[in-house]
Symmetry: C2
């Protein structure tokens, strides 16, 4: 028997984290902004539970009665497996299949929530994070895809990104299949198709040279490790490179599509060209040009379930990691068309498309640029010097709250010096002190905690102004709220 | 090998639920209101992960290497047990123990989030729900307890409950131990102490007669089942009943405490009287009287970890369940002092007290009274009659969104009749139709979807007014935003 130690060690589980008030406030502001855009497009909120039956998430391993290791799973008391959702799309498919008869079609919902991945954590890679999705279920129309692209661009701008600081890049699974067909790769050969698609996906990282090697005999990387190639013919390789890395990078939608239609082949290729043509006609008519949305044939998106257009939003400015190094930040939002997810339950194909914003990832970038900092309301700290008279401090706090301040009377048991330190630690703007002499005179001492810092950093006229302000004033108890308002407003000046 | 069926059935796990836009909007409004009050008292936001190590939650069964069945638990890849949090207090204790050196003291945080219970679900009893907690850690001062009571009352009023519609009821674990001591029940006899406390907890349900029987030889309920009694002496029983069900129900704090101090005994009794005296002196000085906060010696609170004052907020008005039957609704918020939670990790006693609001429970009551309904912004639905011209509809939707409307162009593939039905299903206020004749004239048809319902239900002057409004008007495309604003504002009139 493996006895537990009497005293557990207090520690966060690996890959999880605690978050403080600044980040929480910034995230709330960000979620509000996304919500406003999604709602303005007519999407309605839906909330599904954190847990779903594992089979409903499609996360049983094939042919074994055991869930995929990538999800957190456990058995219910009736032996059924439950898993924490790893995205918001699988629960949506379950919801749609369960309620299909009674929902308006198309069904348009947004959902924000945490998702969990039972994966090895790493720097900046957590096992619990927030996604914000919107999906249109029950429409095969390219207008539904085009709308998601416009909405993604609108959302990123609503979050404070300037036009040009992001790009939404679009491709189509059908277009990719069309170039494979043109290159003579059989779509029925799932393994080879997977290898080629994964190679195309590495274009950003490896460049044309690396991709060419991987499509051919293979590639030796810097460490000397050899990756086996796809062994395509030189003709096939050039065809694919012409597709994924054209000599002339043409941003005009019509010209780019005309060039692509000369490269791809077969029914898939035709379908892909038709899809993107319809989408980009809609984008052009609505005024969304290549400064916001572009075709990028290197976009693959890893998930198996996409069946048509796929897209992702990338940042165009350098992003630094925690160590200050510039990194390739990757996608901040992505999505595409998936027509088969509901069919898993019902057998009936329900066309659908969606977008997902990686809230936690994007938040870290926006916070680093101080674009979603939400200035916390400054605290007014009321010191308690005479415990027998503590109620007077708490009554004062009540009055100040009623007057709209954020006010706290000291609940600890330490003396004046520790209380002043506590006020500093809490970032309080003001400390209020009521000595016994003052009480007799009906007065309070108001101490400005921001002033010291101001004096140290101010220059020129402002320094003069600051010096003239007394750091500590006596104020009539009867007028405290009005006096505080005057002092705090002056500080903002 | 137990093969999975090829097609899973789409179904919610038992005890979980999906939630729609109205409830989500109402909850968001409710959470904002609670947050504003908690923040105004100087509490700062903290967020801990959904998962914690099972030992950190204190949820290993004694002497076995297996988690308590009441929590959802699974093993990490390194064999450590993780559990979904079942409340927000145990993660707080972990956080405080882990970060004690670097935090301001007292540490005051609030947290809102879901908690999970692996328990048998029932009507209105879910296995995932939301709590909103605030705690002061590192203060033994009764002012910290008093403040939570005032804040709970303020919060319930901020949520729309009138004074008198709720009561915050306070007791003390020490007072309970004091009456046990007076009744000759040894505090060292954990079993007997537990039996007596559970019996006191049933006062509301069983009344004095039932409690008297259970404290004595036992009780036969309506079904004939016999519950064993605590076998206390008649004197001891009368002493406890005098405590828990006084002949004269005295609401004046001072008089009630004076009466209680004559009943309880021992060091615990003294401590309980001193605690409640200090708390109620503070409440009185701050203007919180028995119309908001009262002593109730029947309050026990089930959790083992409370060590001092305990309290809960109850609704005073009848609440109906889904079947329309009036039910005893129980507590909507509760809390108390727990001085030993952090010591579990560090060995060091850290005095703490907290309050928790059962958001999901309270939300259901407030929604039934329509006190947190958040009127959804009405949708403007733009029909798409000519697919080749769909982009014009989407461009119009963009313009309307920029003008501040919630606007959606139809993304489905059905005809006009189905589109009108869809607009109804979505609760749209307005449908906009652009026929080819109109397009030639630069006009749009604006159809008022609310008017039919208005006509049916309006009486008197308003009926006259409504009749004069045309249900459908032609509007110049160039002035559409201004015209829509006029129409929608008039509808509110």
């Amino acid at each position: 028997m493996n006895k537990q130690p009497t005293r557990p060690r207090a520690r966060l589980p690996r890959g999880f984290r605690d978050r403080g008030p600044d980040e929480i406030a910034a995230e709330r502001k960000m979620l509000d902004a996304i919500r406003r855009v999604y709602e303005s497009y007519g999407f309605d909120a839906l909330e599904t539970p954190s847990l779903e039956y594992t089979d409903a998430l499609g996360k049983f391993l094939p042919d074994v009665d055991r869930p995929n290791e990538g999800v957190f799973s456990f058995q219910d008391e009736d032996e059924q497996w439950l898993s924490l959702r790893y995205d918001l799309t699988a629960p949506l498919a379950r919801y749609v299949a369960e309620n299909f008869q009674n929902m308006p079609k198309p069904f348009r919902r947004y959902q924000v929530g945490q998702v969990w991945r039972n994966e090895k954590p790493g720097p900046g890679r957590y096992r619990e994070f927030t996604q914000f999705d919107a999906d249109t279920v029950g429409s095969a129309s390219p207008s539904a895809d085009a709308e998601l692209l416009m909405m993604l661009a609108d959302t990123l701008e609503a979050l404070g990104l300037a036009r040009g600081e992001y790009l939404v890049k679009v491709n189509s699974r059908n277009l990719l299949d069309g170039v494979l067909e043109a290159a003579g790769v059989s779509l029925a050969d799932a393994e080879k198709r997977g290898t080629v698609l994964r190679t195309i996906d590495k274009m950003d990282r490896l460049g044309a040279r690396g991709v060419r090697a991987l499509l051919g005999e293979g590639r030796k990387d810097e460490s000397g490790d050899v990756t086996k190639g796809a062994n395509l013919s030189p003709d096939a390789i050039e065809r694919i490179l012409e597709f994924v890395a054209p000599e002339k990078d043409e941003n005009d939608f019509a010209l780019r599509l005309a060039a692509l239609s000369g490269i791809v082949a077969g029914a898939s290729g035709e379908k892909g060209i038709a899809e993107l043509s319809a989408i980009f006609r809609m984008l052009t008519d609505c005024g969304y040009g290549p400064d916001r949305i572009q075709i990028d044939t290197g976009i693959v998106r890893g998930l198996d379930y996409y069946t048509g257009p796929v897209f992702e939003a990338q940042l165009t400015f350098p992003v630094a990691n925690e160590a200050g190094e510039t990194i390739v930040f990757g996608s901040v939002g992505s999505g595409g068309r998936y027509d088969d997810l509901v069919a898993r339950f019902t057998g009936q194909t329900v066309p659908a498309c969606g977008v997902s914003i990686g809230v936690s990832r994007l938040l870290s970038v926006l916070r680093a640029r101080e674009q979603v900092s939400e200035p916390a309301e400054k605290l007014v700290m009321i010191l308690v010097l005479d415990k027998a008279e503590a109620a007077a401090s708490f009554k004062l706090a009540q009055e100040l709250r009623e007057a709209g301040f954020r006010a706290e009377a000291y609940t600890g048991e330490s003396g004046m010096k520790a209380q002043m330190k506590y006020a500093d630690r809490r970032g309080a703007a003001i400390a209020i002190i009521e000595g016994s002499d003052e009480r007799a005179r009906g007065e309070l001492t108001v101490k400005d905690l921001v002033l010291g810092a101001e004096l140290a950093k101010s220059v020129g006229d402002r320094a003069e102004w600051v010096k003239e302000q007394p750091a500590q004033v006596s104020v009539a108890r009867a007028n405290i709220a009005a006096s505080l308002r005057t002092i705090m407003d002056a500080r903002k000046g």
